[in-house]
Amino acid sequence: MAASKRTTPAVFVLLAIVGIAFVALPLAGLAQRTPWSRAADVLTSDSSVTALRLSLVVATSAALLSLVMGFPVAWVLSRSTFPGRTMVRGLVILPLVMPPVVGGVALLSVFGRRGFLGGPLYDLFGVQLTFTTTAAVLAAAFVSFPLAVLVLEAGLRSLDLRLEDAAATLGGSRWYVLRRVTLPLLAPQMAAGLVLCWARALGEFGATITFAGNLQGRTQTLPLAVFERLQTDPEGAIALSLLLVAVSLAVIVGLRARFLATR
């Protein structure tokens, strides 16, 4: 092809190497500092296994929650016009831009025991959200939700509406058309949204520790476990970090075929 025959300027090659090294070096450092002799012990310790399991549960739940909540929002944003739509979209995307710690504080002010939803919830039903796994899921969903909305809205906008019209003339009720035409056609965006949300939720730290706290087995996900260990056992923290890198790598390898290949 013509593009591959064109030579790349040497300067760009050099700059590209610098850019790649910027990502690769810290990872290499992590591997280099890993206390391989102790790694097995750290990784198989109860606290690590618990944190890993919790991380997977929280990230998966949060991603699904974001997708389910994001779909109707994306639908409304893409298919209806109402005053202030741009502002609503901005609002929905805000958690993506805002520091996660602030998100945690905000969640606390609503769902905390003195929050305006959390208060009545506790007084009437004795339900406390803070310091529970549910809180960890909510925190992770809060920060990944905008990604779901963005991806699904783009998907809905690229959909040929005439296909839905055609389905209606063929006898499909609105619900049937949604189920048999719209949602299946959105499958690629659903998958992409799920993965993006999952990745974002897996790395969530600030909102989680603020809103859900750092309780082993309940809210201590892998990033929180790494942070805690760093203060007492830096070598162990590095081993745990490597575990997170491995999980992330597994995701990328798993997705390679579908989303990363440019052609």
Binding site: D165, A166, A168, T169, L170, G171, G172, R180, V181, P184
Partner: protein, 364 residues
């Protein structure tokens, strides 16, 4: 069994008003140039776009009645539509596409699939049942679209440009299939097309639509014999002059059109005043000359430049950009002998009596 339509619909700034009827034992073609509003009418009849005025009745059932606030949604209309771009579901196989209307009505998967398979077999594409639309040829996809529109046994069949997207070979095959299915279809058949050949070869009656209005309704023979507008005249290959009629000497008159005048024989029974008329002139009755003809009996001699020459078999149609413009039909031999090319200066002539004058009923 019949369809009665009397609606007005709007799409953006564009409005369409149409009133016509179609019986169950005939194929009616909605014929008009691109952008005339045909697809808007399809959307109204399918129930996708509600009309802004009027009503639609099918077999005595009211599908739309704006005054009564009645609008039957598309999924509850007994209508089968073949859309212009087919609009097959890309994520479903051919057989699943065809089974869709049955499944949408609650049929079991197995039963729906076997009926779809039978229909695909009747359309000669049984072996393509599991292919996705992207893997189908144009002709195959059109058959799938037709099968999908027919399987739930609708009472109104709407075909929107069913052959337009096909290449010549596929078109011939699919046209034969469409003709067969149209004849076998027990309900009202509506064929939307911009192609006069398609309309005349498939339809019993034609409804001509131009700029959102119906300009003529009639059988192909009627439209061919007496086109009412420039568009209709061009469709059937006839020259048409529309304008006021002014008297000349006894027995003669002059049609004054915005593009120039034509001398005609005074129509029997026409009053002496100014009336809206159209004059029709067969292209074969137009003579062409390389020099201004003199001393002949032709009352109309129009100089002009050749705008286009199109060859049909042994004949050529020559368009002269005179005032008004005319089309002449001559033999290929004449084209060569007179050296006719685009841009050549010519004189077209025809006798007044060769122009058939029709007084417009709706003269204003």
């Amino acid at each position: 069994m019949s369809l009665r339509v009397d609606v007005e619909a709007r799409r953006g700034d564009f409005s369409v008003a149409a009133a016509f009827e179609a019986a169950a034992d005939e194929t009616v073609a909605l014929l008009g140039p691109n952008g005339a509003g045909k697809s808007t009418l399809v959307a109204v009849l399918a129930g996708i776009d509600p009309p802004t005025q009027g009503r639609v009745d099918l077999d005595g059932e009211t599908l739309d009645d704006v005054d009564a606030g009645r609008h039957v949604p598309p999924e509850r209309r007994p209508v089968g539509v073949v859309f212009q771009d087919r609009l097959l579901f890309p994520h479903l196989s051919a057989i699943e596409n065809v089974a869709f209307p049955l499944r949408a009505r609650g049929a079991q998967r197995r039963g729906a699939r076997s009926r779809a398979a039978a229909l695909l077999a009747r359309f000669g594409i049984a072996e393509r049942a599991e292919a996705r639309p992207a893997g189908l040829s144009g002709g195959e996809a059109q058959r799938v679209a037709l099968a999908r529109a027919l399987i739930h046994e609708p009472r109104l069949l709407l075909l929107d440009e069913p052959l337009a997207s096909l290449d010549v070979r596929a078109r011939t095959q699919v046209r034969a299939l469409v003709r067969r299915e149209l004849l076998a279809f027990p309900g009202v058949r509506l064929l939307v097309t911009h192609d006069p050949v398609e309309a005349m070869s498939l339809a019993d009656r034609m409804v001509l639509v131009e700029e959102g209005r119906i300009t003529q309704i009639g059988t192909p023979a009627e439209v061919r014999a007496a086109p009412r507008t420039q568009y209709a005249a061009e469709l059937v290959g006839v020259n048409l002059f529309a304008g006021r009629l002014e008297p000349l000497e006894t027995g003669a008159g002059r049609i004054v059109t915005p593009e120039g005048d034509v001398v005609v024989a005074w129509p029997a029974g026409a009053a002496g005043g100014v009336e809206a008329v159209i004059g029709l002139l067969r292209p074969a009755d137009v003579s062409l000359h390389v020099q201004a003809p003199e001393g002949g009996s032709a009352r109309n001699v129009l100089p002009g430049i050749v705008g286009s020459v199109s060859v049909e078999g042994e004949r050529a149609r020559v368009r002269i950009d005179s005032s008004p413009p005319v089309v002449a039909e001559v033999t290929l031999g004449s084209v060569e002998r007179l050296g006719i090319r685009e841009g050549t200066q010519l004189w077209a002539s025809f006798k007044a009596v060769e122009v058939r004058v029709e007084v417009q009923a709706e003269a204003d």
